[in-house]
Symmetry: C2
Subunit: 364 residues, 2 copies
Amino acid sequence: MNARDTTPPGNTDMSDPKRHYVRPLDVKHGRVDMGHGAGGRAAAQLIRDIFLAAFDNPYLRQGDDGALLPAPGPGRLVMATDAHVVSPLFFPGGDLGCLSVHGTINDVAMMGARPLYLSASFILEEGFALAELQRIVQSMARAAQEAGVPIVTGDTKVVEKGKGDGLFISTTGVGVVPDGVALSGAHARVGDAVLLSGTIGDHGVAVLSQRESLSFGTSVVSDTAALHTLVDALLRAAPGALRTLRDPTRGGLATTLNEIAQQSSVGIRLDEAQIPIAAQVEAACELLGLDPLYVANEGKLIAICAPEAADTLLATLRAHPLGARAARIGTVTQDAHHFVQMNTRFGGKRVVDWLSGEQLPRIC
Amino acid sequence: MNARDTTPPGNTDMSDPKRHYVRPLDVKHGRVDMGHGAGGRAAAQLIRDIFLAAFDNPYLRQGDDGALLPAPGPGRLVMATDAHVVSPLFFPGGDLGCLSVHGTINDVAMMGARPLYLSASFILEEGFALAELQRIVQSMARAAQEAGVPIVTGDTKVVEKGKGDGLFISTTGVGVVPDGVALSGAHARVGDAVLLSGTIGDHGVAVLSQRESLSFGTSVVSDTAALHTLVDALLRAAPGALRTLRDPTRGGLATTLNEIAQQSSVGIRLDEAQIPIAAQVEAACELLGLDPLYVANEGKLIAICAPEAADTLLATLRAHPLGARAARIGTVTQDAHHFVQMNTRFGGKRVVDWLSGEQLPRIC
């Protein structure tokens, strides 16, 4: 398309009523086309009618290339980012939209930071239904609003049909860490208690239950949730006693604990009988041949803390709606090999190793 | 894969030498597989050998879910994000990697901010050559290092073959705006001068020259570059006189000026004879039936400033290697319709309208 051809030289007639006519966006039946990503009038319309309409806030309304935000005040910054490629886009308990908000808020919160702002970038596949896009964007907006963390800037690109998969969303979060808070996967110490905020495997099983190739009946719903208020409660309950917070997403509890063991140069001993798991999740995992220890969660956290604070922090977790089924699941040990080991329910012991490759692709 | 099957209960033999054996990453011949995105050992290896090896810095080395960064000091924050889906991945003068760094640094800089940190999320297609990934990641690392803006945190996901297109990169930048600086597309005033830092259309033509369907011979190279030092020079040269900075990327000079005209509720009058364009770019655009005013740039900026500062700022631009061909290309006018109009080289006038749809898909 040559813009010169459509506006012949010398045409400065301001009275032509068709000049500024843009066909309204047909959200109900319309589909994403390449023009929606090209930065012209169609792109501006998509952004206004779908994205701005849902995310509306003063920062986005500035309409510049980036968002100008107030000085964050004292405290160190935290920055975290996640690409979200979950398939299918909708699953029991959530969808790509709220997941992309919760996932990044949680990464910021696990650093002990108060999440302040989110950015979002969207990679749309040509032909994707605008109605589905709107549903996902509205779910994102709701999640951001409920969490009190606005989406302040964004970007949208479109790729040809067959070069994407409906929609991918990358989100980045910025937060501020209060002075005195110092959490890291590298801070676990021998003797520390390992707490878990609730049942494992719900998210992974909920997503899998919707896969065309698997599709099985279950009432399991994803645990996708923003955990920053839970983190705030923990930080208030026992300041200084928390060493590590981590949300066991992709790769599940087992992978996350192995990461912490390696980062902190310690071992971890788990007590299988203490690890909360819903009966339905356990049944689904047996059916699918999955180990729930490796199945993704999107609304759970692992807290490693000084042993003397374990009871207080466990009570704090249980007093919060997102931590009702919290448990003390293990202890940090001395181990030159940095193994995660588990006392099984049947009185045995086993190593809970890293997975070498994939267990569940595109779970988040 | 069931991890329980591979580590039978009771196996706590620490002496097995194969336990921790991981086949080294074959960067030369290897390809991305689904396991590289699953959060297990293969993912950890990919991150260590490709991403950490290239981006190495103390923030990334923390190894947590996010990066813990120093307090940014006084000043307002800026946050900007971009998804990068350029096709092909390599083009004369650059590639997806350096583009994804430059693009986001520029968005931060156009707000008058000093860029401090970048995050990056990668969506890889199964089967993508690790050698190409490494080349792109190294180009990104080089661009970040040259700009002095570290990539402090990241995320990697893998999608099945046919559900992506090699590699997409989303980057987010955070910066700080010095007190007293207030730039926005909404700040242009009637009578202001419109400056442009150099020739238009280079990036778009360079990318197009590599498209399989078009492939034509040209020596045009992309102008992809980080513009923050140029912005810094402008801010020092005439503090207070700058109203708007904007990089005319997707949609080109015409689209960006239309956005500014609309945001500021003004008109803009361009002088075509003053708009710098390389002869080869002009020739390529004629051949392809493209209007160079709408072709993407990745290393140019538009500066709108008080007229009395125009000469000083133009000299400042020209004194910088990235602004050598800077020109004063127009004036902000009063116009209730917010039109961008142009005095053509042949003495006529024409409206430089918004594009309604796409001109060039996947140009950045």
